[in-house]
């Protein structure tokens, strides 16, 4: 009897039901990134390139952000994730995890987690490189490159 019940349940698992859903935390994460990008580009619907993003992550941004998702040549800003080797961009780039932030040579900033807390960081020298002015609200997150590398 027990074996049969086990079998029925294992068979039930085999039913696959894929639903495109997003939790509140993910929505807020996209909202924070949107706020930062809109502020840095000074555009309401900036053209954004999602560099090394998974397909499902791209879909999340397509559905829940104000961005026009495009290729990196046409983009106003590049959002980067999962970069495992040193890299420089010709356009302003913004890192969305710690590993990309460490490997991106000229990223203007990053949004990542450290010591269990979310952090926003903007690098003064790299902002100057792309001639980006930061508004009052983001000014609190601007640090020098030397401090950011610590």
């Amino acid at each position: 009897m027990k074996k049969r019940l086990t079998f029925v349940f294992i068979m039930t698992f085999a039913l696959i039901n894929i639903v495109f859903a997003i939790d509140k935390a993910k929505l807020l994460e996209i909202k924070i990134i949107s706020e930062i990008v809109i502020s840095l580009t000074n555009k309401q619907n900036p053209k954004v390139c999602l560099y090394k993003f998974h397909e499902y992550e791209k879909k999340e941004y397509e559905n829940f952000s104000e961005f026009k998702i495009t290729n990196c040549q046409l983009a106003d800003i590049i959002l980067v994730k999962g970069i495992e080797e040193k890299i420089s961009f010709k356009k302003p780039a913004f890192a969305l995890d710690y590993i990309s932030f460490k490997n991106c040579q000229n990223c203007i900033g990053a949004f990542y987690w450290r010591k269990g807390r979310p952090q926003i960081i903007l690098i003064k020298e790299n902002l100057d490189l792309f001639n980006i002015k930061v508004n009052k609200e983001l000014q609190n997150y601007v640090v020098s490159k030397r401090l950011a590398q610590k």
Partner: protein, 636 residues
Amino acid sequence: MKSRILIFFIISFLVTGFLSVSKSQEDISKLLEEYETAEVRKTVDETLGKVYVFSREDIENLQLNTVTDLLKLLPFGTVYPNGFGVLQYVFSSASPKPISYVVRIFLDGHELSSMQTSSPFLTYDEFPLDNIQKAEIYFTNSISGTSVENGVIIVNLYSKDPKKENVSILKGLMDNKKGYSVTFSDARQLTRNFGYFILVNKGEKKYDKLFVNSHNLDRNQKREHFYLKFNYIDTEVQISASHVDRGVWGGFSPNFAPDYGKMQSTDIFFSLSQKLLDDKSFKILISYDWQDRNYIEKNEDVGVYYLKYVNNQYGVPIYLNEDATFTKFILHMTKDFEFNKHFINTGITYQDYQQNARGKKIIYPSNVVVYDYEPDYEEEDHFISLFLNYKYAVNKYLSLFANGKLSSYDWYTNKDRIVFDKKLGFLFNKDKYNFKMYATQSYLPPPLIYIEIKRENLKPMRLNTLFLEGKYLFSSSQNINATLIFSETKNILIPTSQGYINNSKNYKSWLYSLEYNIKLKNNTLRVNGWRLDSINYNDLSSSDGINLILEGQFKKLNYFSTFLYRNSFKYQNIKVDDSYDLSLGATYGFKNGFSLKIKGENVLNSSAKAVFVTPTTSGTYQSFDRRFLISLEKVF
């Protein structure tokens, strides 16, 4: 006089807590705060029962160093040392002395409790929280969805995620009782898909001795922990090893005064969890636990009254050395289905448990020495359970839910026992009003150790519960919450000289709770008062209590204060006074990654007290000593 002190502290909390005000926060920082809160609450399941959440920020600010520090802040009960000196959470009015089997602790979905005693506390009462990101505590009486065995309290601990850490931490702590703890942890995301977290800890905790029947009782402990976690895409591997070496306090001695006693426990586990399918809705958890426990107790006056080793021919042992090895294998699978307004979570759990517990050396009176005494009970046991949790969103305000769990357990004389747990309820959330209500019937199997001692069938305890909770939000930062829990318990286990037996009486109790939470700038205050009224029930510990928890920040200084009040009670002729456990602490963060913490625990030297009664003497003992701690932490 003490009532005045209580009132003074309540007013001090309310007034001084809100003096420091920082500048108004900008939109991004508000969003960050909301995001952090949403991340913390992401895994909370409101249908399980009343929930308390402690975030990483709470754990750090409140200087919660161990599991006991966390459980101490819970309402509806008190943390007491049991008869063996092991700190455990005990419900209001219940007896602190026996091993508690109502609390289930999970670390990333893996249950830490011993299969023999159904208690996690021997090894994990002072488990360091340095590897914990957050804790969810459910007062449920019911279906955990993660374990065959039900628990009245489910503690879900979530370990730190390498992706969210990227730091190394070295922490040293010492206290005025000559105790210490040293922890090193390192967590890194090395590649896009691979990350690790490693922790090593060593510590010692010393308590004031208790003088009973011309003997000093000892509950000091030394411990070591090792924890390693790997993440690779959606696979997570945990390897944990813990060792604790501790005194036995009153042990099995009927006069609560052993001549000598020591116990050691080594607990090693391995777990592998995997999320499958595109939407990660199919989860598998496989784990294997190995525990070795060694127990030594000597009492030449009245003997060591561990019923399992009481022999018809030789009598009660005067010396006992038991060596026990336990292994546990768990397979847990769960699948979520979501379509339109329906959400279904279903799964299966299988546990296989083996033990080898024998009296390695037993000395009976008249110098009869017996080696390798092996009582005759089954050494292999199985559990299997199937569960189905269903939730239906009637509209955007109202959800209905129903849970069912069919469990079969097979151990010693309790062979092929099948129980069916059920639960029905609703959640209503509209604007400022939140309501939750459910009715449940569930069964709590007796711990294996009680069956072994009794060597007879013991029925599972049956709990019928009606739960009502109402919450009113004055604003996003201020709310009030009222809860009523009615419970009817049948087949409760009660101790006798021949072991535990089921009592067929119906024990009824009403628990009333009122909670007020406010957040003002950088300060949060939680106030929770409760009362337990019971019929057919002796008060063996406090039945009423108030908890006040204050956390705050002023520039680089974080401070906290907790105040735990428990009412007086009388057991037989022993009167136990009200208790007022006040703890205070502050953390100062320096620029170079150093932080200095100071903490005073039970500074009024008035923590909760437990009663002990022996044929020749009786008295009380404090749960916690007055203790002052200092710690230094370096993040790099």
